[in-house]
Structure formats: structure tokens, C-alpha cells
């Protein structure tokens, strides 16, 4: 949990009866080794902050001139004609596709990942838990281009009946209307499914790590009160792991939002003239796939700037997601060890 939330468990452990936790500065001795290491650590911290700031500054500096030339509202327009003397570009379609695919991925991968982690840490016998964990980790090692190809060539055909099934049950809702064009494997929904598989190992690995850290004392406390295994998990394991699960979900979401190759391969593009449809069984382009598809056409500063503006929105989106996660975690801070 610590490496993910940026907060070490030590920071929050009271130093014995009621004493406040040790603070870094008071623990320092002022010796040479201490100062060198302290300087290195501080420097690394500043370096990372500077890096993020510079990326932000670069994106803004490149995007602003193009945005000034834009002839439609960047935030509300569906058009995407960034070239020419009178550029018109807006992000509504991109934002919709990005958020939809990522949310679908989250809805599938978070419960599944947590369940897999619970199985590995709490239910599986010892001989099985290690190989199972390694196998899930292996999913993370598969390159995203392979997922894209596999989705398109193999798994996609099996998604057709799924899409039809969802349509027949929930098709009356505008979100689940499946018309057959584009075909099921080229839709936002299927891209979301593939994304879910891609972020599953991250979510599982982090959740597993956190569940493993649940102190035996807490688990035994629950069991001694007469909790069944599932009740023990609900009383001791899940609450302890909650900040970790949130971190895991946010890291997964970050990956899903920015994932490029697999999505680019899978999604079928829309024509500029197509009317907007709110169904998940539609094609489209995410921020990342749109930029990737246009990568070899960045011939003018104006055009490049438009795409960079799209990238900036993705950057801000990811930033907001992470900030929100931090707020959620901090609100319960007093209740975590």
C-alpha cells in the first residue's frame, strides 16, 4: 500500500502509547551520511515534481496557440478538423469514448481483481497461491499490441453473442442499444473488456499485496468473535485493504485512460457526419488512439497543437482521478493504521 499511496505505514503508526509518530527531521543526526542521503532523497522528490510541472507547461504552451485559432468551442464541439486556415476541433467524442471504455474496464476489472486477490491470499491452498499469483502477474507482461491482435482476431468473434444478449435484455436503455454496425468487436464495449483484462494484473497485484499485509491479529480477532471466513474477510481484510484497493483501481484507471495500441487496433472510427449515439456498442476514438492514428501527420504547428490540446485534457483527467482517489483515502485516514 505504501508505495502506491505514497504514504508509509510507519508514518501513521503512533510511536507507542499516544506519542506522535516520529518525524523525519527530528530523527536526523546531522552527520555527513545523513545529510548526503537526505539531500539525495529531497533532490529526487524535487526532480519528479519538476518533471510533472514541465510536462504540464509543455502541453499548455503548445496547445494554447492552436486553441486560440479554434473556430468552435473546444470543450463542446464534436468536430475534429484541426488542419487548414479555419481549424475546427472539439473533444466531446474523444472524451466520451475514453471515459466509456475506461469505466467499462473498471466495472469489470475491479471486482474481478479484488476477488482474484482474495482467492490467492485467503482461500487458495499454499501450493496453489504462488503459481496463481505468478500467472496473473504474467498477464501484465503481455504486450498491449498482442492484446489488440488477440481481441481482434480471436476473442472478438465471441463478443457478438454477448452484445446481442445485452441488447435483448437492456437494449431499451440508450446505453446498451446494439445495432450490428460497427460489429461487436469494434465497439467501445469490447475495447473496455480488453482494457479490463489489461488492467486486471495491476489491480490484482496491488490488492494481493495489501491483503497479505493484514495483520494476523486482526484476522484472529474476527475469527475469535465467531466470524465465518467470509465475515472475517469483510470485518478485517477488506476494511484494512480499502485504501489499497482504491489505489489499485486508480492505477488501473490511469492505465486504461492512457492505453493506446490495443484500443487503436480494436475501435472502428466514426464518420464526422454520424450523429452522436450514447450506446456503448458504437465505435469511436479515445484521446490516445486519436493521437496515435494521427502521429505521422503532425505537419503544422496548428495541427500538432490541436492534438496536444487533446493530450492535455487526458493529462488533466488522469490528474483529477488521482486527486479524487487521494481525497477518498485521506478522509478515512484516522481509521487506518
Amino acid at each position: 500500500m505504501s508505495s502506491i499511496t505514497g504514504r508509509s505505514a510507519i508514518d501513521e503508526l503512533p510511536g507507542g502509547d499516544g506519542r506522535p509518530p516520529l518525524e523525519a527531521d527530528r530523527a536526523s543526526t546531522g552527520r555527513l551520511g545523513d545529510r548526503i542521503f537526505g539531500g539525495l532523497a529531497t533532490g529526487s522528490g524535487i526532480f519528479v515534481i519538476a518533471l510533472v510541472t514541465l510536462v504540464g507547461v509543455f502541453l499548455i504552451a503548445q496547445a494554447v496557440p492552436s486553441l486560440m485559432n479554434n473556430n468552435v468551442n473546444f470543450l463542446t464541439s464534436r468536430e475534429w478538423e484541426p488542419a487548414g486556415a479555419e481549424p475546427r476541433f472539439g473533444i466531446v467524442d474523444l472524451l466520451w469514448a475514453t471515459v466509456t471504455t475506461s469505466l467499462i474496464a473498471m466495472v469489470i476489472a475491479v471486482p474481478l481483481g479484488v476477488a482474484v486477490a482474495l482467492f490467492i491470499t485467503q482461500y487458495a491452498p499454499t501450493w496453489l497461491s504462488k503459481p496463481a499469483a505468478a500467472l496473473v502477474d504474467l498477464l501484465a507482461a503481455v504486450p498491449s499490441i498482442v492484446y489488440g491482435f488477440w481481441g481482434l482476431q480471436v476473442a472478438g468473434q465471441y463478443f457478438e453473442p454477448v452484445a446481442k444478449g445485452v441488447d435483448s435484455v437492456l437494449g431499451w436503455l440508450p446505453f446498451f442499444d446494439y445495432t450490428g454496425t460497427p460489429s461487436a468487436k469494434s465497439t467501445l464495449a469490447f475495447a473496455g473488456v480488453i482494457l479490463a483484462i489489461m488492467i486486471l494484473p495491476i489491480i490484482t497485484a496491488i490488492s494481493r499485496e495489501v491483503f497479505n499485509q493484514v495483520p494476523t491479529a486482526h484476522k484472529e480477532a474476527a475469527l475469535a468473535l465467531g466470524a465465518t471466513k467470509w465475515e472475517m474477510i469483510r470485518t478485517a481484510v477488506l476494511p484494512f485493504g480499502k485504501p489499497g484497493i482504491i489505489s489499485a483501481a486508480m492505477l488501473g484507471l490511469g492505465r486504461a485512460l492512457g492505453e493506446t495500441l490495443a484500443v487503436t487496433i480494436l475501435l472502428s472510427g466514426l464518420n464526422a457526419s454520424d450523429a452522436f449515439r450514447s450506446t456503448i456498442f458504437n465505435g469511436g476514438a479515445t484521446f490516445a488512439s486519436k493521437i496515435a492514428l494521427a502521429a505521422n501527420e503532425f505537419d503544422s504547428a496548428q495541427k500538432t497543437g490541436a492534438y496536444i490540446a487533446a493530450g492535455l485534457v487526458l493529462f488533466i483527467l488522469t490528474f483529477i482521478v488521482n486527486a479524487a482517489a487521494r481525497v477518498v483515502i485521506d478522509r478515512r485516514k484516522a481509521f487506518t493504521e
Binding site: P14, G16, D17, G18, T126, P215, A217, H218, E220, A221, A222, L223, A224, L225, G226, A227, T228, E231, T235, A236, P239, F240, K242, R332, A334, F335, T336, E337
Partner: protein, 258 residues
């Protein structure tokens, strides 16, 4: 409410390793029995078999009989979860649930039993905290995290949590070993109060504590290094500390070894 414990010819194993052998003893209702003995002699292990917490450790199993008022705890029809609801336990290190408030910690067991009525929960929380001599110290901050209390308060919170489900028996595994003398005194006073309602078994390393709180004392020892632990003798506390029948007991309590 309190029940009698009968242990007969109990052997305890971790996998193939026999940790304790041949324990037989009886604990009367509404009495305090202390388990004493050197480290590693199996007294905590024996304690954990009394509510089937021993099985939680992989490979943990027993042979022999443990009965609560003639009810065999290890009968095949017996659900370990039900046993643990009847026989409560307090651990060596205070272990309140860190994500729960003081109130929720005490109510945790009831909620597991499906009690939802808020009024009843509040009543039980108050009664249990009073029973654990903690009410006056925490009544104004029931919604604060339980982990924010001092060690001694946390341990009394754990006792409140254990008695909130109204068990028949209360097991305590060195409940004062992580506490200072003042907190220890508070817990010992509490044990004296609880005795009127519960059957209590306490493991302790502190022989003065055993002498102060218990009616009956059981002395455990290893036969030899690498051999299983065994019960050397069990008798009235007064007798054990003044005139024990076994030489080993006398050597141990007089500080000649251990």
C-alpha cells in the same frame, strides 16, 4: 451463563509435530484458572484449543476431548464458528479493528450475529464498555477510532468486544504482557469482576499475577527440549504456590528455573 470446561487426554499437533500431549483438567464455572509455565511449553496452544482457534493455523489439529458442559467441542457436528461465539478470546496484543470506531469495535460481534437494531446495539455497547471498566473514559468519543486509545484502554476495549456477544467462557492469552503496571492492575481488577459471570482461563508469564487473580493454577512444562509440552499439575492456586505436589512446579515458582 458460565459453563464448565472438561479436557480429557488432549494431544495437540501442528502437522506431524506433537506440540502438547496428555492434558486433562477441569475448569469450574465462574472461576479463574491460570496457565503458567516457561515459554514454548504449550500453554497458549492449549488455550487456543478451548475455542478451536488452534485450527486456524495450517496443520493444527487435536486428538482427545474438550467438552463444555458435556458438549464435545470437537464433535463432527460442531461448527467451529459456533464454538467461538460461545467461547470468547482476548489476545496477547490489543487488537481492536483499526478501521472501526470504538462503538463499532464493541458492536462487531453482535453485527456478525445479525443484530441490526440500533437501540439494542447502543445498549450492549454501553453495558459491555461498563463491564470492561472503560465506559467513563470513552463515552464522549465512541465514534473515534479504537486504535487511538492507549494500550491498556485498547485491551479493555478488546475485552468489551469479547463480552458483548455474551460468551460462556472467556479465554485470555497473556492479556497484560504488552501493558504497563497500572493498566495491568486495571485488567486484573476487571478479571475479578468478570469472574462472577464468566468462566475465565488466563495464560500468564507473571506468577504474581496468577497468584493474584486465579482460583486454580495449571503448571505446564516441556518434558525435555524438542519433546511435547505437558501439564505437570493443576491444583488450587494457593496450594500450587505454597505446597505443590511436584518438584518441578516448586522449582519453577520459586524461580529456580524458567
Amino acid at each position: 451463563m458460565a459453563k464448565r470446561i472438561d479436557v480429557k487426554d488432549l494431544d495437540i499437533y501442528y502437522g506431524d509435530f506433537k506440540a502438547v500431549e496428555g492434558v486433562s483438567l477441569t475448569v469450574e464455572p465462574r472461576s479463574v484458572t491460570a496457565f503458567i509455565g516457561p515459554s514454548g511449553c504449550g500453554k497458549s496452544t492449549v488455550l487456543r484449543t478451548l475455542n478451536r482457534m488452534h485450527e486456524v493455523i495450517p496443520g493444527g489439529r487435536v486428538e482427545g476431548k474438550v467438552a463444555l458442559d458435556d458438549q464435545d467441542l470437537y464433535a463432527s457436528s460442531m461448527d467451529p464458528v459456533a464454538v467461538r461465539r460461545t467461547v470468547g478470546m482476548v489476545f496477547q496484543r490489543p487488537n481492536p479493528f483499526p478501521t472501526m470506531s470504538i462503538r463499532d469495535n464493541v458492536a462487531a460481534g453482535l453485527k456478525l450475529n445479525g443484530v441490526k437494531n440500533k437501540k439494542r446495539l447502543d445498549e450492549v455497547v454501553e453495558a459491555s464498555l461498563k463491564g470492561a471498566n472503560l465506559w467513563n473514559e470513552v463515552k464522549d468519543r465512541l465514534d473515534k477510532p479504537g486504535a487511538g486509545l492507549s494500550g491498556g484502554q485498547q485491551q479493555r476495549l478488546c475485552i468489551a468486544r469479547a463480552i458483548a456477544v455474551e460468551p460462556q467462557v472467556l479465554l485470555m492469552d497473556e492479556p497484560c504482557s504488552a501493558l504497563d503496571p497500572i493498566s495491568t492492575l486495571a485488567i486484573e481488577d476487571l478479571i475479578n469482576d468478570l469472574k462472577s459471570q464468566y468462566t475465565i482461563v488466563i495464560v500468564t508469564h507473571n506468577m504474581q499475577q496468577a497468584a493474584r487473580v486465579s482460583d486454580q493454577t495449571a503448571f505446564f512444562n516441556l518434558k525435555a527440549t524438542g519433546q511435547p509440552g505437558r501439564l505437570v499439575e493443576v491444583d488450587d492456586t494457593q496450594r500450587i504456590f505454597s505446597n505443590p505436589s511436584e518438584k518441578a512446579t516448586e522449582d519453577y515458582i520459586s524461580g529456580r528455573f524458567g
